[in-house]
């Protein structure tokens, strides 16, 4: 996947860019950490890659094709996204996990859902009402829901930032193990330099909507 000259300006104020001149690529099974101060454009960048927002300039190459030539729903199924908050749908945990597959007219068997939930430490949660879950549990369901689509690239938009400390650590460990075991291609927006250092193959530093630097953790981050 490759971003080419990607830019987006404020809809109300054209020529005031939220992000601009974004050029980078991500290799298969690579984890790219994105760090930068608040308002640097990190979430905007992920939204552009998932095409939740339209770039005002540039594009994304996905499987070598300009993503504007692909069907948006198919693209989004291939580029999964986990947001800062879980935003679960009303219904059971199983219904949330099966949501993505249902959009393709595919059903997910009970055993498949069981297996996925066990993988994220939520065995036995199949019939639980999604509204009764804690923040950490809800975020695990959101991660499972995204993985159930079997995405080629997973976008993580500070998935632990809205959680309490205990949940934050456990969800972070879960993501780390999922990424390693499944060899996921990931773009992970994080506030934690430590998280970026341990998880990312490369780190992209975003500042005022532009790429400040991109490189390996050793090149980009100060020594711990």
């Amino acid at each position: 996947m490759e971003c080419r000259d990607l830019a987006r300006d404020l809809p109300s104020q054209p020529r005031r860019f939220l992000v601009q001149d974004i050029n980078f690529s991500v290799e298969r099974a690579e984890v790219l950490g994105i760090i930068g101060p608040s308002g640097a454009g990190k979430s905007t960048l992920l939204r552009l890659i998932n095409r939740l927002d339209e770039p005002t300039n540039g594009s994304v190459l996905f499987r070598g094709q300009d993503y504007r030539s692909l069907d948006t729903a198919t693209l989004r199924r291939s580029i999964g996204m986990v947001m800062q908050r879980a935003y679960l749908f009303p219904g059971t945990v199983a219904q949330n996990v099966a949501f993505g597959a249902l959009q393709q007219g595919r059903t997910v068997s009970g055993s498949e859902i069981d297996e996925l939930l066990s993988e994220v430490g939520l065995a036995g949660y199949v019939n639980r009402d999604a509204r009764t879950l804690s923040g950490g549990e809800a975020q695990r369901v959101a991660i499972t829901r995204a993985l159930a689509n079997d995405p080629e690239v997973l976008l993580l938009d500070e998935p632990t930032s809205a959680l309490d400390e205990a949940s934050r650590d456990s969800v972070q460990r879960l993501l780390e193990s999922l990424i390693r075991e499944r060899h996921l291609t990931c773009i992970w927006v994080t506030h934690s330099l430590e998280q970026a250092r341990t998880m990312a193959d490369r780190i992209l530093v975003l500042e005022a909507g532009r790429i400040k630097t991109i490189g390996t953790p050793a090149e980009v981050l100060p020594r711990a």
Partner: protein
């Protein structure tokens, strides 16, 4: 009593309006401390409403001499005005005027045409315009509630809607839950009107028919006809709007455009 002192009907009507307007102003003066600012607003609203309804009376008086088909233009004008009012309520929804006009015209137009064709509403200006105006006005209110509620639902559920989109859902699927909630809310007044008919209120048309000499039994049955027509028109308009609105609040690339 007034009849005795003012035998001329038109003059009596003006005096009756004045007394009714004074009653409103009196109550507002009494409640002035609780709702400062409303006195001025209601005074202007009263004046505006009186002039508008009087103008309608003048137009009706002129139209009554013409053929029945001319009422189509009057009803079309009403739909146009209704859509303008709905647009103001749904400012954040792009091209809300066209949306509201299409929905109200489809809802009210279809139901009024069916009712007229079957003879339920007589093809006379004297009935078509007053009944049509009631149907259009109520359909307009339903549209306003529908779009306002939908806007509120969407704005407060942006995260859920975009999560659904990010999982590959179509815009229709992503907002289905909120469309349903808006649809249901918008029809509550129309449902309650039918449910409470005769118990809580005896609506204007029945009172009018009785006052003008119709049998109270026939007037009662006809009132049900009018309310059922209003409900059908409102529901059909919302149904049409619910199918058209998704294309206005999402881009062609399934991106949510409506935000706080």
């Amino acid at each position: 009593m007034l009849e005795h002192y003012i035998p001329n009907q038109l003059e009596r009507g003006v005096v009756q309006c004045l007394i009714a307007a004074l009653a409103v102003l009196g109550v507002m003066l009494l409640a002035h401390r609780r709702t400062p600012g409303l006195l001025k607003e209601i005074s202007f609203a009263e004046l505006r409403g009186l002039l508008q309804i009087f103008a309608v009376g003048v137009i009706l008086a002129a139209l009554l001499r013409g053929p029945a088909w001319t009422s189509i233009f009057v009803l079309a004008g009403m739909i146009f005005a209704a859509a303008s009012i709905v647009r103001k309520r749904a400012k954040q929804i792009p091209h809300a005027f066209v949306l509201a006009f299409t929905a109200i015209a489809s809802g009210a137009g279809t139901i009024l045409a069916v009712m007229t064709a079957t003879g339920v509403i007589p093809l006379k200006i004297l009935t078509l315009i007053p009944v049509g105006s009631m149907v259009i006005a109520n359909t307009m209110n339903t549209q306003s509630i529908f779009l306002d509620r939908l806007r509120g639902e969407v704005i407060s559920h942006v995260g859920e809607i975009e999560s659904a989109l990010a999982l590959g859902a179509t815009p229709d699927t992503a907002v289905e839950r909120y469309l349903r909630a808006a649809f249901r809310s918008s029809l509550i007044p129309a449902v309650d009107n039918i449910r409470s008919l005769g118990i809580v209120w005896i609506p204007g048309i029945m009172a009018g028919m009785v006052l003008s000499g119709a049998s109270p039994l026939y007037a009662a049955l006809y009132q049900f006809v009018v309310l059922a027509t209003i409900f059908s028109s409102s529901a059909l308009a919302c149904f049409v709007a619910s199918h058209l609105v998704t294309r206005r609040i999402f881009s062609t690339h399934s991106q949510l455009l409506l935000r706080a």
